[in-house]
């Protein structure tokens, strides 16, 4: 089998929470050695965030190494404890950066300044370094030092305003959505492009990904529509301008769906022919001939009545059955799945073995997201579960940084490796 694309490369992962670590994890999955720098003096909040693994008696496990939230973003990484609030700690950090190809951080500009992690400073010790910075707003600018949390990113970037039903306030989409694919994905796209450039020229560079800029870039047509047309779009629920019916429709309740018995199916009917096919599949062929719904324009004009009609047809059917029926008729439809569905019931996800089950010394056996892209010759590998806090401190100091036993002992005594 061919070597993984990033084998031989090293990543200094000075990030935390979601966006930074997820990006770094992808690099580990495709062969890089990734060293997460952490400190008990300012622990990654995800290490102490739900969901925690559980003991057999139903109580939650405790400690820094039992969070599914943290674990899922840090598979295959080494963890080194380093207190960057000390001068000696920063020296050790520089030593790691010197020996790395890629540096990733989503620390705030204030912290980057405080800990001497600015690009100009890193480039001095390692001119070939590719250094990626992902601050909330930017490394410069009037909002540079604004407080940022994932919860605030979703409203600031326009996602909240544009999502959901128009009669509801814009409360967001239930998660810190941009942290998980958009921001880490954009970061790594840029890092990989920079790697290719470095292969051809020998030059490293700085990548700045202001999270606000990254997200707004992927916000559909909303901003372009304002800039080009002066038009301010409003959230439109689940409907579409080019497909009707288009939305989520309630099906029969399923009491085996734990604390989530209401079941829905999403449907996107994209042509008049599909509409007729849908009607036939659901045993309502006469509706397919009804002029109120015969064309897209007609369906959009009478969309309230259309949705009421469709809801009536579906309310007593199993969502899975509706999906199967409509898919057989060539119509895009899918159950609104929850995690129980995806992990335990979705035959397709099982067949593709997307989830990896890894044994972790404190969490136990648990599921990890597999690589989100499949390469046929150099497939991604989750080579280990998430690391315990500081699990590899001594290994990194010895093997990677080349520190002597005495030097390491001093660092431990001085409270640098905490």
């Amino acid at each position: 089998m061919t070597a993984l694309p990033l084998e031989g490369l090293r990543v200094a992962d000075f990030s935390w929470f979601g966006a930074g670590p997820i990006g770094a994890q992808l690099l580990a999955t495709f062969g890089a050695e990734v060293v997460r720098v952490e400190s008990e003096s300012k622990i990654d909040s995800l290490r102490v965030a739900h969901p925690f693994a559980m003991n057999k008696d139903g109580t939650f496990k405790t400690g820094y190494n039992v969070s599914g939230y943290f674990n899922n973003f840090n598979a295959g990484k080494l963890s080194m404890q380093l207190n960057l609030n000390t001068e000696r700690g920063q020296e050790v950090g520089y030593r790691l950066i010197e020996k790395s190809d890629i540096f990733i951080t989503n620390f705030t500009p204030r912290v980057i300044d405080k800990w001497n992690l600015r690009y100009e400073q890193l480039a001095k010790v390692n001119p070939r370094l590719i250094a990626a910075y992902a601050p909330m707003q930017g490394l410069e600018g009037p909002h540079r030092d604004f407080l940022g949390f994932g919860a605030v990113l979703t409203p600031v970037t326009g996602i909240s305003y544009m999502s959901g039903f128009p009669n509801r306030p814009p409360f967001g989409v239930g998660t810190n959505y941009p942290d998980y694919v958009i921001n880490p994905g954009h970061t790594i796209t840029a890092v990989l492009a920079a790697l290719r450039y470095r292969n051809r020229t020998g030059k490293g560079q700085m990548i700045e990904l202001p999270q606000v800029e990254s997200v707004v870039n992927a916000l559909g047509t909303a901003v372009a529509d304002y800039l080009a047309n002066g038009n301010v779009q409003m959230r439109g629920g689940n409907r579409s301008a080019t497909a009707s019916p288009h939305g989520a429709f309630r099906c029969a309740d399923d009491p085996t769906s734990v604390n989530s018995p209401d079941r829905w199916v999403a449907i996107a009917c994209r042509s008049d022919a599909e509409w007729r096919s849908l009607c036939a599949a659901l045993g309502a062929a006469e509706a397919g001939a009804d002029v109120r719904f015969a064309t897209l324009e007609a369906r959009k004009t009478n969309e309230d009545a259309l949705e009421a009609l469709l809801s009536g047809w579906l309310r007593d059917r199993r969502a899975e059955d509706v999906m199967a029926l409509l898919q057989a008729g060539g119509i895009a439809s899918g159950v609104v799945q929850n995690a129980q569905d995806i992990l335990d019931k979705d035959e397709h996800m099982k067949a593709r073995e997307y989830y990896w089950y890894l044994d972790h010394p404190e969490t136990g056996r648990s599921a990890y997201d597999g690589p989100p892209m499949r390469l046929s010759e150099t497939p991604g590998q989750l080579r280990a579960p998430a690391p315990l806090l500081g699990q590899h401190t001594l290994d990194v100091c010895d093997r990677i940084l080349g520190l002597s036993g005495d030097e390491i002992a001093d660092l431990l005594a001085e409270g640098v490796l905490i």
Binding site: T2, F52, P170, R200, G220, M373, L375, E377
Partner: protein
């Protein structure tokens, strides 16, 4: 190819056969400097005919903003793949490329003489990326797909919206976009490998898999605790309405607050601001003052563990929240955001598209681009790039007209 200069992906040629799911992937590569040639059917795909359009010019394949935002910096070549000549030219074109990117239903490309196994014979280094709703293999690989179906089957929709409403989709074709972003990374990984070893490979991206990470903690909550996360709408993660947490209406919009979070100042700083504006009402009196001073995560956790205490405190919390709501309603969303942040309070404006267009940070950083739409006789402002690279800055050029480069590209082939 020529010596690399100024563009990260200089010298990388991509031929793409994409419509809605995969076009953003091509854009990411094109804006980073790859030579991306989009092969389109004679009428253009679905995306070219999707609204909104550039209003001053009317609807058409060259004025769709839906197409524009996912297709900057590319060339366009029209080839009819249903004809032998079209297939032949497409094949010749692909053999000049390093990467093929497509998002057709499984089997379509092979049926039109453009399958991976056929092409790799003459081009062993070819990176062949296929983006579909459910991937190239598996029981659902033949399923019809649309963005809302990806969001549904991928576990996103069940987490979004009020419990009393249908689950919400996230705006902006996020299943398509996620698939494209994962594919861009996959392609570049495969390109690095191909450039090192001379061996290409297949990159298989399923939109359903591409969005899985966006379930945040739902997967782990089921796996570790056998509970499903459910949508909670306005209450978010916190099961009661706490002052300083959630969406507040302003004069002209909304602001989202999360003052209780362990970042920035706590509720007393918010009361200080209200007091300065003469809008603190009776919050300096008991029992409100004591509660305001104690409002933080620790307080909430203790309250949740003492249901009787919680009951006595709820009316006071509701009153404090009413006073706060009236306070925010007295100002614009921009004022609430900027002054709140200036006072180190964690809040964020619920940006409308106009707010984004006028966002002081984006403007100060010159994030917006001016694209020359020569064929429309206009220079138009356009959103910028997701990242800034110091040696190889992202250059964005306008999206191509349908078939704009057919003649020049085919002439090169001959």
């Amino acid at each position: 190819m020529s010596t690399p200069q100024g563009n990260a992906l200089q010298g990388l040629r991509v031929v793409e056969f994409t419509d809605e799911i995969g076009s953003y992937c091509g854009r990411l590569l094109a804006d980073l400097g790859a030579d991306v040639i989009k092969v389109e059917p004679p009428d253009g795909g679905r995306q070219r005919h999707s609204p909104p359009f550039f209003q001053a010019a009317g609807a058409g394949p060259d004025t769709s903003l839906a197409f524009w935002v996912h297709n900057t910096s590319k060339k366009s070549v029209v080839l009819d793949l249903e004809t032998p000549r079209g297939q032949d030219l497409a094949r010749k074109l692909v053999l000049t490329a390093d990467v093929l990117l497509e998002d057709h239903p499984v089997g379509y490309m092979a049926a039109h003489g453009l399958g991976f196994e056929t092409l790799r014979v003459n081009k062993p280094a070819l990176v062949y990326a296929s983006i579909t709703g459910f991937g190239q293999t598996g029981p659902h690989s033949g399923f019809a797909y649309s963005d809302i179906v990806g969001q549904a089957m991928g576990g996103l929709m069940t987490l979004a919206g009020e419990a009393a409403d249908p689950p919400n989709k996230i705006y902006g074709k996020q299943s398509d976009v996620s698939a494209s972003i994962q594919a861009a990374q996959g392609i570049l990984l495969a390109v690095l490998s191909a450039e090192a070893t001379g061996r290409g490979q297949l990159v298989d991206v399923s939109a359903q898999e591409a969005v899985q990470l966006s379930q945040e903690t739902a997967m782990q909550t089921w796996d570790l605790q056998k509970k499903n996360r459910v949508r909670t709408g306005e209450s978010g993660a916190i099961p009661l309405r706490l002052p300083g947490v959630g969406v507040y209406a302003c004069k002209d919009g909304h602001v989202m607050c999360f003052v209780i979070a362990p970042a920035g100042k706590d509720f007393p700083a918010l009361v200080d601001w209200m007091r300065e504006k003469g809008l603190a009402a009776d919050l300096d009196d008991e029992p409100y003052a004591g509660i305001c001073n104690a409002l933080n995560f620790g307080f909430l956790t203790r309250l949740m563990g003492e249901p009787e205490k919680l009951q006595t405190v709820i009316p006071a919390l509701a009153h404090i929240n009413d006073v706060l709501a009236a306070f925010f309603a007295s100002m614009t969303a921009t004022e609430a955001y900027e002054e709140g942040q200036r006072r180190t309070l964690l809040n964020g404006i619920v940006s409308s598209p106009r707010d984004l267009g006028e966002n002081k940070q984006l403007r100060a950083r010159h994030w917006f681009r001016e694209l020359d739409f020569d064929y429309l006789g206009k220079t138009l402002e356009f959103p910028g790039a997701p990242y800034r690279l110091s040696e190889t800055p992202v250059a964005i050029s306008r999206p191509p007209k349908l078939g704009e480069h057919t003649d020049s590209v085919l002439a090169e082939l001959a």
